[in-house]
Assembly symmetry: C2
Homo-oligomer: 410 residues x 2
């Protein structure tokens, strides 16, 4: 986590915190609370090792946080449906309000009129990221990008309305689940006048500090998941992730797919069968053409030409890694997925899967061709079923004094 | 967390790990995996700072782990209903099987025939704690304690069957949510032949390392929750928590209550009103007769006699702290509760509350009188509703070669 340049410890943001505090922390329900009361435990703490909770991700910037931020352990994804009487002006009021909440909460400050101000402290890298649907863009009087619509129907989809669609997208992510609970409540309370919850999905990765920083996550199939992500240092990264022009300049898009994973059926497969279906070793995530014992081999490039003595491809042509790989470099996406493990009932042992999240500049150019290939043929499809789907435009970032969504109204 | 004497780092358990490894890691689905492959990342790690994930809680002992263990960040509570054809012998087979799973998983070892062995690594203080119902005890041919039954009906209860009852209780707790997901799946798979899931509830506290070790948790009302817990160093601790004799010797009991918290209604109350209803300051959890500014004041004893200039009690007589306090020292309980924050839908903003968990030697002697007082009168009842309830006998611990539950069959 310390390798993430966007992450700052308390020291680095003291000035911003004081500014925000002067502007707001003394008003509203906090009337009788001094800043000393609210922040006593933290201000006494400068002499010791900072806690995980004291890591802050800046809210303001050209891009929104929570996209290139190293993924936090916990995330809550929420889609809102705009109320029938919410017009463009209402949408603007709502975005201004919840953007202000996010600016405070991500810096460990209570939201305006925060009823549980103590739960805002130690935000543990909280980021809050906003997106909008075609309908919301049109409500604001702007031209939606062509790709801002439902994905084409894929044959593998078994989509349920309760996990699909929506007008406003909010991604809450923090290394601390209590922070996610409080931040989401504060923002959903402020949004309630304008919109209701369409769906919400809760996901997790390994805990902060549980495994070495930079370790690629594993999904509940035990697979290393997300190895070949574009890196911010890649020369084409900006073109892959950020919209270059118009009101969405410096924004992006998100594809959210709830993918049910049939763990029972997966467990019937032997280890080699699993590795063949993915094209990677389970031990270290390395392609089957590399070594299963070398941790660094995870990042080696798969060799799709290598054959066995018997003349078979070492990495099966229908494996997930072979099918998802594109010859076109511009077709890559930035994945930021989370596991889910919802309550199982009765004879069920698991109700689990992946909240697939990808960020990309253009859904039609980058995500759709990839998904078409996987839909057509991917060994993994035997154990996975998409049950939810949504696409949103991810708004550009904003600077102090502005709000996320302001370019919709410029 | 480092203050917990039961917690050991990797170094401290190397011998046990190797023993277990020699006994099991080379068989089953792991056939082709060398120990080196499985544990390569960890064995290379001895020279660096241990990760949170590398903290292990011993499984074997007179008492089960997960009771006096400093509460982990994540917990999953599961109740199973025994299948109609599961007899005493079947119950014994099941307990032996899942106890063996727990012995391995808590030490970061895959369960026997673990299909995702990599997900067992870095258990992050995983504990797995087992309990049984009256019916299960009778099935084993033993005499259940008198208190092992449904709680008496309380007037505030609005119990739902989907959160109540059950024959077998399992508490999974770890600082890492992925570990909880994997451990629960492994054990529920092994239990499936004998029982089905009656209910499961997922809870959280602040993340490991997010706030200073030993900080009392806050619930979603923002209250410091669990201050006056008995401590293992208290002279009467053993008498409060452990059963002294018979087949349940060194065992305990658990009360599990799912308590819905009406956050919306709570938010309508001003800060002073909230503090009056609890009898403690929200800032630091100190009784209203102590200072709201001194972090150490949380642990000061409330003075129920102090009055204001106007002659009113400073701590209202109907406040939660006044009503829950007993004059009888033996009526105390060991609380180990977790927050829950389930998916909200529609105009709802929260579906949240507390998974109240208490351990005590005797439910009738310790828990019931306290709950009767709170049922009769507790200002907090206006914002909280018990919607689930269950009681289980917590089995004694076991030693290497034995299994949790063995005294049921001795």
């Amino acid at each position: 986590m310390s390798t993430n340049p966007a992450s700052k410890n308390r020291q680095g943001t003291t000035r911003r915190r004081l500014l925000l505090s002067g502007g707001a922390a003394g008003v509203g329900v906090l009337g009788t609370l001094s800043a000393q009361q609210l922040f006593a435990p933290s201000s006494a703490a400068e002499t010791r090792t900072p806690l995980n909770g004291e890591e802050y991700i800046p809210f303001f910037g050209d891009h929104q946080a929570g996209i290139t931020t190293a993924p936090q352990a916990h995330a809550l994804f929420v889609a809102l449906t705009l109320a029938p009487d919410t017009d463009g002006a209402g949408l603007k009021r709502m975005l201004r309000l919840i953007s202000d909440d996010a600016a405070r909460l991500t810096q460990g400050q209570p939201a305006l009129a925060d009823t549980e101000p103590e739960l805002a402290q130690n935000p543990a890298r909280l980021t809050i990221t906003f997106g909008v649907s075609r309908k919301a863009v049109q409500l604001a009087g702007k031209q939606p990008p062509k790709w801002l619509q439902e994905l084409p129907a894929f044959s593998i989809d078994r989509l349920e309305k309760r996990y699909s669609g929506g007008d406003i997208f909010i991604q809450f992510a923090s290394d601390d689940p209590l922070i996610v609970a409080h931040a989401s409540r504060m923002i959903l309370k402020d949004a309630r006048r304008f919109a209701s919850i369409s769906w919400s999905q809760r996901g997790f990765r390994r805990a902060h500090g549980s495994v070495a920083a930079g370790t690629t996550m594993r999904n509940l199939f035990g697979q290393v998941d997300g190895t070949s992500n574009p890196q911010p240092s890649d020369p084409d990264f900006d073109a892959l992730v950020w919209e270059p022009q118009g009101w969405l300049r410096n924004g992006s898009s998100v594809v959210v797919r709830k993918i049910s994973m049939d763990l029972d059926k997966w467990d019937e497969l032997d280890r080699s069968g699993r590795e063949q279906s993915v094209g990677r070793f389970l031990s270290n995530g390395a392609p089957l053409t590399s070594s299963p014992n070398d941790p660094a081999a995870e990042f080696e490039v798969p060799n799709f030409e290598t054959t066995t003595a018997g003349g078979l491809k070492v990495i099966p042509e229908f494996s997930h890694v072979a099918r998802s790989r594109s010859a076109v470099p511009g077709e890559r996406i930035l994945r930021r997925s989370y596991n889910y493990d919802d309550a199982a009932t009765g004879s069920e042992v698991s109700n689990a899967g992946l909240i697939f999240i990808s960020y990309q500049a253009d859904v039609d150019r980058q995500y759709v061709p990839l998904q078409r290939r996987l839909d057509e043929l991917d060994l993994l499809n035997q154990w996975t079923t998409p049950i939810g789907s949504a696409v949103f435009a991810i708004l550009p970032g904003c600077h102090e004094g502005g709000f996320v969504g302001e370019t919709l109204f410029g």
